[in-house]
Amino acid sequence: MSKINVVARTGNEAMAEAMRQINPDVVAAYPITPATEIVQIFASYVADGLVDTEFVPVESEHSAMSACIGSSAAGGRTMTGTSSQGLALMAEILYVASGLRLPIVLAEVNRALSSPINIHCDHSDTMMVRDAGWIQIFSENAQEAYDNMVQAVKIAETAALPTMVTTDGFIISHGMERIEIFEDKDVKDFVGPKKLGQYLLNLEKPITLGALDLQDYYFEHRRQLAEAMIDSKNIILDVAKTFKDKFGRAYGLFESYKLDDADRAIVVMGSTAGTAKVVADGLRAKGIKAGVLKLRVFRPFPKAEVAEALKNIKAVAVMDRSDTISGHEGPLALEVKAALFDSNIKKEVPDYIFGLGGREVRLEDIESVYKDLGDIIDGKSKDRVTYLGVRE
């Protein structure tokens, strides 16, 4: 087992630390709150000669992702970081990265989208690009942000899919916590040298990349991308297993917190999962069998696995930190309901849209969700969608 060092780090510092240990060939980035620190700290590593990385300061996120694509296509291990409007500006190029199957790793700090302008946490930005063909991994805390970054490189390069690791803006990005970091050499060993498949700078085996695909080939390439996303589920699990063997911490597609005997459960992503666990523990002390399903991997969505984990639970609620603005539920609830439906599980699944723009989610808010689930168990029906913590 690897030696560990216990340190106090913010989520951003933890992600930058992982990037230093990974020592990518190229980082191209543009600063944006609250992700600025990640690349700012990393740039200081470059300036101090602690990494061998070529740092490309660009003039926008659109350019950042474009430069990442150039670097990754050439064969370089490539990383970047962004948030909110930055991710939105990258959106066009995110699709190019996945279409070209480039294993770029992006540290994404979840933040609301304008307007109104707001710098605080919600998941609108990440959810906006949920169909961009990127693997999306959510982190509950700074430790997971670090662990997920280390795993993401391996996942991305094995699956040949770009991968974003997210943390919650300010709550995790700027909150200092106790985390365990590994020795540089152990991270280096774990990540390994970049496996070069086909790359542009390989003069032995020249390739053309990104040729025009019309009616005759585009469909086949998109079908390949879909298949790669399906296959990446097992890759993510394999990497998690290797990670556990080497570093001791277990990861899956999601975490089942006290679900085994639960009669009510909340499905949630990110930092709120921790708070929900505290609430569940409090309810269990009163004899109420509460549990939490903390989704780690939103893309690929572990449909059958989520349905299996929830099938015996009497009442399930979803908490969405973004809205589809479709007049119906948020993106996570849509996925969970589709998963249950496809597994022939008929349940009322109320959705709670919460925490938009960094709105505080209090213990009482989560308690009220569990209370609603209690009502459902007692045969009462609940609203399909509730905006939790909004002023009427």
């Binding site: 480039l102 695909d213 390439h221 390949q224």
Partner: protein, 109 residues
């Protein structure tokens, strides 16, 4: 006519919009859709190779510093060579394909 190739399905197609191998443009017969072709007039040609410099498709064949022929497999018939030819009265003239192919069979294969 370009050879008809069997298009691959998603399972066998190289992944990620990659075309394997170099110089694949060679297989792309851009001469197929020409409407006019350049015709060489040897008695006027001074072998300055201005046409060779300007041809965007490298369709001017030369040997020992002299003009030999047009490569009609790739020549798109853009006419730049004829336009740039510095010889008074021009050593290259553009002729319609219809005219040029008048004596050929409709389908050569």
């Amino acid at each position: 006519m370009a050879e008809k190739i069997q298009k691959q399905g998603w399972k066998s197609l190289p992944k990620g919009d990659v075309i394997e191998g170099g110089g694949t443009a060679r297989e792309f017969r851009t001469g197929d859709w020409r409407s006019e072709r350049p015709v060489h007039i040897p008695e006027k040609c001074i072998h300055c190779l201005t046409c060779w410099i300007y041809c965007p498709d490298s369709a001017i064949v030369t040997k020992n510093g002299k003009f030999v022929a047009f490569d009609y497999k790739y020549c798109k018939g853009c006419g730049i060579c004829a336009h740039e030819c510095p010889v008074k009265g021009k050593a290259i003239k553009m002729v319609s394909e219809k005219e040029a192919k008048k004596n050929e069979k409709i389908c050569q294969k």
